[in-house]
Subunit: 283 residues, 2 copies
């Protein structure tokens, strides 16, 4: 427990532990910090293996189990999977594997908000290859919205590296966005009136996306998830010290430098660590 | 030795084993296959941890030692580090750690070719953040070319994901390229007459880059390395069966589908595997 005490020593178990393949999940943590300023948080960014979005489901599940195993040593009250790729492909695996812990992902809160916002029942989703390929959004939207929900998914592999490069508006980002959004711009999906940002890297693109598609309602699932947690009664709330700690598997300096734009404030108390190897296989 | 026999069973030890963080190194293998059609090859793509370019030197060294350890089980005559990020930051580590094996990287052959081509002695290098930050090119060009060699390095983080997306020409790739190449286009580095493509993902961009900068000589280090190997006398040459085998740590289907564009032919005989964990630390 040495490391556990070093990281969360003064505050005990955090209310929320979040993890992501890298720094993208900071755009989720941002909303949690806004809404729960008095709670303690622990965030893990698996920068050494970033990104997860283009990798296979088996590999993503293994990484997710390893990341969660590390965070659960700190006994958080809630584990937040702040990564859409993992949320859409491995949430069931984590829930099965760690029955004693409350585990929440990114997909459901955003899907509920999209269904509340849409008038046509036609919802667009932007995400990584893995998230779109998983079919998680059609499944969840179908379950929550019934047969009327129609989903139009588009994978946008260049958005994440573009945001990490700091290119969030201007000529090149707009050209790239117009390429990916062409089905909406050109009216090939005319009934879509609501689009879910299905990747933690995309919120910084929001002002530009709104300008390109002014008639569309955009949903930021990080905001929706933090809000839904706020509405949930939970004993022990508000007993933290407002402490936020970060663990990364690589690139501490880069995480702090680039991550502040996703978090909306400076990123401090960052330690490098390694995640435990876990045997994982579908077979 | 079961796996070793399965992969290279009919042919014994390969003449060349190559590895890269993913599929980029296929653009290097391509030139080797052209020049050594009768030899046997083994290629490892560490797709599960791709990309290496934005990660720290310690992590890159650890991954490199793990990748090399796997390939050396097959007892290749030459180990080719077909990844600029590893070549520029970890070649010395691999040479030290595996003294019984000939290890060659991507930096030196391209640097020699650039020095032969330049008249001004001013050489540009395009590469990942890691390759440019490493300073490997200034070091090697300085050693080979003396004081007159001047190096102008530009990191181009969006080029690799763009090539993997299949965007190698057209409006968006050209805008992105013009952004990165602005110092050359706008005359801020007027004496640069030769540019090294310092990343295995970049050769498919060559026709476009030549159109944008028609007065510049571009160097493809994969071609130069394969050529320099051809000129080197080696006993046992030409005794292979022309067999090419591939190992990947993830994404077999994607490796075959996208990789054929980098290899210039179809990618077959691909097996998924995992690399051994190795303790590695600078301390």
């Amino acid at each position: 427990m040495t490391e556990e005490r070093d990281v969360c020593g003064k505050t005990g178990a955090p209310a929320f532990a979040l993890f992501d393949s890298g720094m993208g999940g900071l755009s989720v943590l941002r909303h949690f910090l806004d809404l729960f300023p008095e709670e303690d948080f622990l965030y893990l960014g698996d920068m050494a293996r970033f990104p997860y979005g283009s990798k296979s489901r088996e590999t993503i599940c293994r990484f997710a189990v390893e990341d969660a195993s590390l965070l659960l040593r700190f006994r958080p009250r809630t584990l937040v999977v702040a990564c859409f790729t993992v949320s859409s492909q491995s949430l069931d695996i984590l829930v099965d594997r760690f029955p004693g812990t409350r585990v929440v992902g990114m997909v459901e809160a955003g899907a509920r908000a999209a269904l509340a916002a849409t008038r046509s029942g036609h919802v667009g989703v932007l995400g990584t290859e893995g998230t779109i390929r998983s079919g998680a959004y059609p499944t969840v939207l179908g379950r929550l919205g019934g047969r009327e929900a129609r989903v139009f998914g588009i994978s946008c592999p260049l958005f994440a590296p573009m945001v990490e490069e700091g290119w969030i508006d201007g000529e090149i980002p707009e050209r790239v966005a117009r390429e990916y959004l062409a089905p909406f711009i050109e009216g090939r999906a005319p009934e879509v009136d609501t689009i879910i940002l299905g990747c933690t890297h995309y919120p910084p693109l929001l002002p530009m996306l709104r300008r390109i598609l002014p008639g569309i309602t955009f949903v930021d699932p990080g905001y929706e998830l933090a809000h839904s947690e706020l509405l949930r009664p939970e004993p022990g709330r508000g007993q933290g010290k407002g402490q936020v700690s970060f663990l990364v598997t690589d690139g501490r300096e880069r995480f702090m430098r680039v991550g502040q734009h996703l978090l909306g404030r400076s990123v401090e108390h960052v330690r490098e660590t390694s995640v435990p190897s876990v045997d994982f296989s579908f077979v």
